[in-house]
């Protein structure tokens, strides 16, 4: 058994430190009144003790003697009293030694246990750190993928609405181009007829000129020529206006954030959308003056267009769409109301969900209103909808005016 163990058997020498031993010796000298010495278990005097003659009594600590007290006093009672005192002293010393050694052992054991726990914790911390490092990287990669996909989807949605618009716009442009071409054909005929006058005019024959003028009804021709040019000019203006609206709607000549009057946005979007409404619905504007707003006008146009196209689709015939704008509570409020089919109550909570659509496959991406809401939220605003089946639908857009 190691000397360090708390329950290791103590020797007399262990239990009596030199300083205490000197004081004990002086006390015992008085008590016994005669020379004495302390012996170890083998009967050999402790260091610095001188052997004396006399009787010896055992000093018992637990069960067996740890040493002996030898004295020449010859008084058994005195010697027994001294033995009892020394034994008490030894027992207390042993108790203290054992407790202190055990304390050291248990502190060491606790410390080792703590160190083991500590290193286990450090290992698990390192594991978690490594995991969290890769986790962040993996999340970032996922976010990038999602953002990329989202951009593609939004682009697809934009292309889809542009495609829808293009069909209507083509029709609208085709019409004036048709009559302008026909007018130009007629004009070419008129020019040929006028060319017949050239030899007569060059001959300076006034009578023949008047005769031919009369016969060929050149008065009417000139009048008709003038009308036809006038009509072609208005046709070309109409095409120019449509192109201008289209450009303004798609903001091809503008980019990013600008200080825009949203009423202008509403007007251009309504002009473009009215192409689709022609015949079965009319669009009315009730616009109040709005402060200019820093916004991405192209995006706002897209949002308005998505709502307007939905409104137009909801109308069968004799429809009426009213677009209102006003300022209330430091917000620009734009409402778009139709008197169309309305949205069934079971569908209403889902209309802003991505990919939710009631249209047939190929008729829409299911992103129109989702994109619309995202655009408004990106501008710090909100969009609300009220609808009653068979009565119509009202979308209200709120956009905060910066203080």
């Amino acid at each position: 058994m190691s000397e360090e163990c708390f329950d290791h058997d103590f020797s007399l020498d262990d239990l009596l430190p030199q300083a205490e031993r000197d004081r004990l010796r002086s006390a015992l000298a008085v008590l016994l009144g005669a020379p004495f010495c302390l012996l170890d278990t083998q009967g050999i005097p402790l260091p610095c003790e001188t052997e004396v003659a006399g009787e010896r009594v055992p000093l018992v600590l637990e069960l067996e003697p740890v040493g002996y007290l030898k004295c020449s006093c010859g008084d058994a009672n005195r010697q027994r009293a001294a033995k009892v005192l020394v034994e008490m002293l030894l027992r207390n010393a042993a108790r203290y030694r054992m407790a202190s050694r055990l304390h050291v052992e248990s502190v060491r054991a606790d410390y080792e246990a703590l160190q083991i726990k500590h290193s286990a914790l450090q290992q698990s911390e390192a594991r978690f750190r490594a995991l969290s490092a890769t986790l962040e990287q993996r999340v970032n990669e996922q976010v990038k993928t999602i953002e990329g996909t989202q951009r593609q989807l939004y682009q697809a949605e934009k292309m889809a609405s542009v495609g829808q618009l293009a069909a209507g716009v083509a029709h609208e442009i085709n019409n004036p181009i048709g009559f302008i071409r026909s007018n130009l054909n007629s004009a070419r005929g008129y020019v040929q007829q006028l060319a017949e006058l050239e030899p007569i005019i060059k001959a300076r024959d006034a009578n023949q000129l008047a005769d031919v003028w009369q016969k060929k009804q050149f008065d009417g021709l000139l009048e008709d020529f003038s009308d036809l040019l006038q009509e072609s000019i208005s046709g070309a203006d109409r095409v120019a206006r449509i192109v201008a609206d289209l450009k303004s709607f798609s903001s091809v000549d503008r980019g990013g954030v600008e200080n825009a009057d949203l009423n202008d946005c509403i007007r251009s979007v309504c002009n473009v959308a009215s192409v689709h409404a022609a015949g079965h619905a009319r669009i009315e504007l009730e616009l109040e003056a709005l402060p200019k707003l820093n916004c991405n006008a192209g995006h706002i146009n897209q949002a308005l267009m998505n709502i307007l196209l939905n409104a137009i689709k909801a109308i069968k015939e004799n429809g009426r769409i009213v677009v209102r704008s006003k300022v209330a509570n430091r917000e620009i409020v734009i409402s778009i109301s139709d008197n169309g089919a309305g949205i069934p109550s079971d569908v209403l909570p889902r209309i802003f969900d991505p990919f939710f659509t009631t249209h047939d496959v190929g008729q829409g991406t299911g992103l129109g209103l989702s994109v619309c809401r995202d655009i408004i939220i990106a501008h710090g605003g909100r969009i609300e909808v009220e609808s009653e089946s068979g009565q119509g639908t009202t979308f209200v857009i709120y956009l905060p005016i910066p203080a």
Partner: protein
């Protein structure tokens, strides 16, 4: 492994009373001190706090001389039962030659018994003692209290375990000596091969137990 000092002719066994807080480990030692009439019986050394809770350990030394002159010494220790003193428990348990696990029979203490027994198993492993071979007796103490597990319930729960189970009411002294007797027999059987107690020291199991508990060997 008992400690054998050939020069001094002394064989020392370290026996440890283990168990949850307040299960009666110190009381076992106090009653043994009163009841046992061994040839050599030391004073009970206690190291307790003001609330009578064991802080480090209690120690009761017992012993006898074998016919061969060998001094057989038993050092009976208790451990502090409170959970916080695990380092002390582990230190006291190290190099033990036998263990009495003192369980509290009260129904409310079943969880504490279980935790403490698991702690004993863990600490045995830590100090390098083989729980399969170490002499161990399980004592269900406090049989005098109400709301205790019945003996049948205890046997049902511990029947599958390889350790003998005893019942005691240490405050009244009942079962304390029987438990010690049972541990001594297991310790003798475990030590007999290593120290040739019967052949070299003329010490049979019966003599070994009797000398430790009742009277000097003739």
């Amino acid at each position: 492994m008992a400690e054998y000092d050939e020069i001094a002719g002394k064989l020392t066994f370290k026996l440890v009373y283990y168990g949850p807080a307040l299960s009666g480990k110190t009381t076992n030692l106090m009653r043994l001190h009163d009841l046992v009439a061994a040839e050599l019986k030391g004073e009970l050394m206690t190291l307790e706090t003001q609330n009578d809770r064991t802080l480090f350990f209690d120690l009761l030394p017992l012993g006898f001389r074998a016919p061969s002159g060998l001094l057989v010494k038993f050092k009976l220790f208790t451990v502090p039962g409170q959970v916080a003193h695990d380092g002390t428990r582990k230190a006291v348990l190290s190099r033990a030659d036998g263990v009495v696990f003192v369980a509290d029979s009260q129904r409310s203490q079943s969880a504490n018994n279980g935790e403490s027994f698991q702690n004993l198993m863990d600490n045995l492993q830590r100090v390098g003692l083989d729980m399969e071979r170490l002499p161990l007796v399980v004592q269900f103490n406090k049989r005098d209290l109400p709301n205790i597990l019945s003996e049948q319930e205890v046997h049902e729960r511990w029947g599958g375990a390889p350790w003998p189970v005893t019942f005691a009411s240490a405050v009244a002294g009942a079962g304390v000596v029987e438990t010690f007797d049972m541990l001594l027999r297991a310790v003798y059987r475990h030590a007999e091969n290593d120290y040739a107690l019967a052949a070299r020291h003329q010490l049979s199991e019966q003599d070994f137990v009797a000398a430790a508990i009742m009277a000097p060997v003739k």
